[in-house]
């Protein structure tokens, strides 16, 4: 089963995402901000990274930029969690190398569908 890294500074969001994905059999790890996410991603290759945008200590866009520059994550699906209003964030995310995004609020079903989509 693919391993997924979820990066979000909101504990409830992480809990929800991790619980949903673990329930579907994925191997999930959590990181509390961009810097933590980068450290964890460097420590072990994840198949998918899902990250929030607004976070302290490196935001999601910067994290994606860093990750995409690493050989391990050259082709890895890197997904952004954004709010509907943040169209500029989507563009900034794309420019940084994001694969796609998921619009908040989303429910567990939508999350699973998206992850399934990119996990092939």
């Amino acid at each position: 089963m693919p391993t997924i890294l979820i990066v979000d500074d909101s504990a409830s969001m992480r809990q929800m995402v991790a619980f949903t994905l673990k329930g579907a059999g994925y191997d999930v790890e959590e990181a509390v901000d961009g810097a933590d996410g980068l450290r964890k991603a460097k420590g072990k290759p994840f198949n998918i990274v899902v990250t929030d945008v607004n976070m302290p200590n490196m935001d999601g866009i910067a994290l994606i930029k860093e990750l995409r520059a690493l050989p391990t994550y050259k082709f890895t699906p890197l997904l952004l969690l954004t709010t509907e209003s943040a169209d500029d964030k989507k563009q900034a995310g794309k420019a940084a190398g994001a694969t796609g995004w998921m619009v908040k609020p989303f429910n567990p079903e939508q999350l699973l569908a998206t992850i399934k989509k990119v996990s092939g």
Partner: protein, 679 residues
């Protein structure tokens, strides 16, 4: 798959409370003119997270309300809006409102929608938009179907793989939309020698039949907009069939696969039956704990080995192992206790806001200074010290600091200073609340006390005695009852609450220069350093902090007054002797004062000597509540279980001193003691 979102709500409420605190303190700083980018970002992030979380977890009113806050903050963040005081005001009020809304959701009550509405309207006015229903949940798709289907030419750019996207995924998604026929164009593929495996050189043409809205097709390519050339041509609505050999993977799948968002999540979760509390613990503390457990396991296995083939030659090893076990246990205990310790900033953080609001209300100019916020104390103590602190700070603001003109006339700066300070001292935490105001009105206090009959008409008390008076029930010298303080409920309750925590509160004041309230509290309520004393068959525990000294009495220094009361002359002081056996109604081994020991204890500034048979060792004891297991007993603060399994009562020194002063006390306490033994 259905997932009950309510299980994440507790975490959401908790992090929202933290976020709101951060917003509040950020907004207060912002108002001071220090609106740097990071600060604004922090505030924005908090609002953003609360909005995202509340929408996800089905708290739509909260999400809607936060939306305006977020928009305002986003404009500030983008530099489109200046930080004006009306903006900060409305945001601060919104923080309060959000707190109330979240509390209401948590308890399942209705809350106050009017307040939210009027704040929303104010924010909308600042934003210059019409108030209306802001939709934060995903909107429904407008359906505009092309009856025949689509011919899609999808030509990815070379770098597509490096965005993490896979053309096969998109093709697979298209196949799920309708009748599907695909052909692959390999003409752009370079020869084998020039092959670039990391680049995409293929393109595809898809014929998709069925009533599929264009939007639905474009959605599939949403993520690769700009990373490919995409053309969509509607197919004529003919009944032309696909070639039989077409790789049609799937039958026609109805489009209505997508559910509308939130049908499961928008029902608010039932409120949790019992409130559970949790604490955040630094990972270093947990690591320390794990280390200790490791050590403990090593010691245990060592002792196990000693015990395996035990003979007297190994006694030394056994003793060594036991000593190590003791050390491990103590360190483990300390590590566990540290987990419950939190910086006092959690209790302090509400004050900047409070002082700001109060000084506005009272038209005073006040600066709040805080230091020692990182001083740690037990969570349970922290929770209970909040209200007394609020009261004391309110007092300083309301009674302590003068109006600006009065201050100017007195030659002081217009802005008064209230200082909160915390530090450790011995086994205690000391919290000081200091103001540079007028000081306690000595004359007024004396006059009031005389009027209430607390002081004799010709009595001229010293400062200590005067200031003690403010802690009497129903004592207030405020000229006017204000919103802020001066209703006469207060200082006595403050002292009572602090006493209940095993702490003390003192006041020092100098006319014209200000007052300082000093609170001393034990760091934890769970463990206490105690001196074990024996009286007859019983063992009692005297808290070590209250013991001044222990001595053998000299016969010539004992004097009895009026039959019952006995005094012991210790150097220049006469100390009342309290026979513990008499207080608790038990049979001692020693009745002759000269043969027993006197433990001199101090509580609330008074000293008494406790007469006991003997002293045992000193040790840390774990406090078990007598109240929750039995009932409240005057003179006893709790109980503990000793190493041999017997129960020992922990003396409440102030309670014992109070009890000793009441003539009826001995029988009352004795009766309780008998009940405890019976129980």
């Amino acid at each position: 798959m259905t997932i009950d979102m309510s299980k994440f709500l507790d975490t959401f409420f908790e992090e929202s409370a933290e976020g709101l605190d951060a917003m509040e303190s950020g907004l207060l700083h912002m108002q001071d003119g220090a609106a740097d980018d990071e600060l604004v970002n922090t505030i924005f992030r908090a609002a953003h997270s609360i909005k995202g979380g509340s929408a996800t977890f089905g708290l739509s009113e909260v999400a809607e309300f936060t939306h305006h806050m977020e928009t305002l903050l986003d404009e500030v963040r983008a530099g489109k809006r200046a930080v004006a005081s009306d903006l900060v005001d409305v945001l601060l009020e919104s923080v309060d409102c959000l707190r109330a809304m979240l509390a209401a959701s948590k308890s399942g009550s209705a809350g106050d929608p009017k307040r939210a509405k009027s704040l929303s309207a104010r924010m909308a006015k600042i934003l210059g938009v019409a108030t209306g229903h802001v939709v934060v949940t995903a909107s429904a798709q407008p359906v505009q179907a092309a009856s025949g289907g689509w011919r899609i030419v999808f030509r990815p750019h070379a770098h597509l793989y490096r965005t993490g996207n896979d053309p096969v995924r998109m093709l697979r998604e298209l196949a799920e939309l309708g009748e599907y026929k695909v052909s692959c164009d390999t003409s752009r593929l370079p020869g084998f020698v020039n092959a670039q495996p990391e680049e995409c050189a293929l393109s595809w043409t898809v014929e998709l039949r069925g009533e599929i809205p264009e939007k639905r097709v474009r959605e599939v390519f949403d993520w690769v907009d700009g990373d490919c050339d995409l053309t969509l041509e509607p197919l004529p609505a003919s009944s032309e069939k696909l070639a039989p050999d077409a790789p049609a993977v799937q039958a026609v799948v109805p489009v209505a696969k997508e559910k509308t968002n939130g049908d499961k999540t928008s029902t608010p979760a039932a409120p949790a039956a019992a409130e559970t509390t949790s604490i955040r613990v630094g990972i270093d503390k947990v690591d320390a704990l794990i280390n200790m457990v490791g050590e403990l396991v090593i010691t245990q296995s060592m002792l196990g080995q000693v015990g395996k083939d035990f003979d007297m030659s190994r006694v030394e090893k056994l003793m060594h192992g036991l000593a190590q076990l003791e050390r491990n246990t103590r360190e483990l205990q300390e590590s566990v206790m540290r987990i419950r310790m939190m910086p006092i900033s959690f209790a302090f953080q509400r004050f900047p806001r409070m002082v700001r609001d109060l000084s506005q209300k009272l038209n005073k100019k006040i600066e709040l200074r805080m230091s020692g916020e990182q001083t740690e104390l037990d969570k349970t103590v922290m929770e209970k010290i909040g209200d007394p602190l609020v009261h004391l700070v309110r007092n300083s603001v309301d009674h302590g600091i003068e109006m600006p003109d009065v201050r100017r006339a007195a030659g002081k700066a217009e802005t008064g200073i209230v200082t909160l300070n915390a530090f450790h001292q011995g086994g205690n935490i000391v919290i000081e609340i200091k103001d540079d105001g007028a000081g306690l009105p000595r004359g007024k206090i004396i006059a009031k006390a005389r009027k209430q009959g607390l002081l004799g008409a010709d009595e001229e008390p010293d400062d200590n005695k005067v200031f003690e008076l403010i802690f009497m029930a129903g004592f207030s010298t405020a000229d006017q009852v204000s919103d802020v303080s001066g209703r006469g409920v207060g200082m006595d309750v403050v002292r009572k609450n602090i006493k209940a925590l095993g702490g003390t509160v003192d006041v020092k004041s100098e006319s014209g220069k200000g007052s300082t309230f000093t609170i001393r509290l034990p760091l934890t309520l769970a463990i206490l350093d105690g001196q074990l004393v024996s009286v007859g068959e019983q063992t009692y525990i005297v808290p070590l902090v209250s013991i001044v000294e222990t001595l053998q009495m000299k016969k010539e220094a004992i004097s009895a007054i009026a039959g019952r009361a006995e005094l012991y002359r210790l150097r220049d002081e006469y100390i009342p002797v309290l026979r513990l056996y008499g207080l608790f109604g038990i049979e001692p081994r020693q009745k002759d004062l000269a043969n027993g020991l006197l433990v001199v204890v101090e509580g609330e500034g008074k000293r008494v000597g406790l007469f006991v048979d003997d002293l045992q060792n000193q040790q840390q004891v774990v406090i078990k509540s007598l109240e929750s297991n039995f009932k409240r007993v005057p003179g006893v603060s709790g109980a503990t279980i000793l190493g041999d399994g017997t129960v020992a009562l922990i003396l409440d020194v102030s309670g014992v001193i109070d009890a000793s002063r009441q003539a009826t006390a001995p029988s009352g306490l004795g009766k309780n003691q008998a009940q405890i033994r019976a129980a």
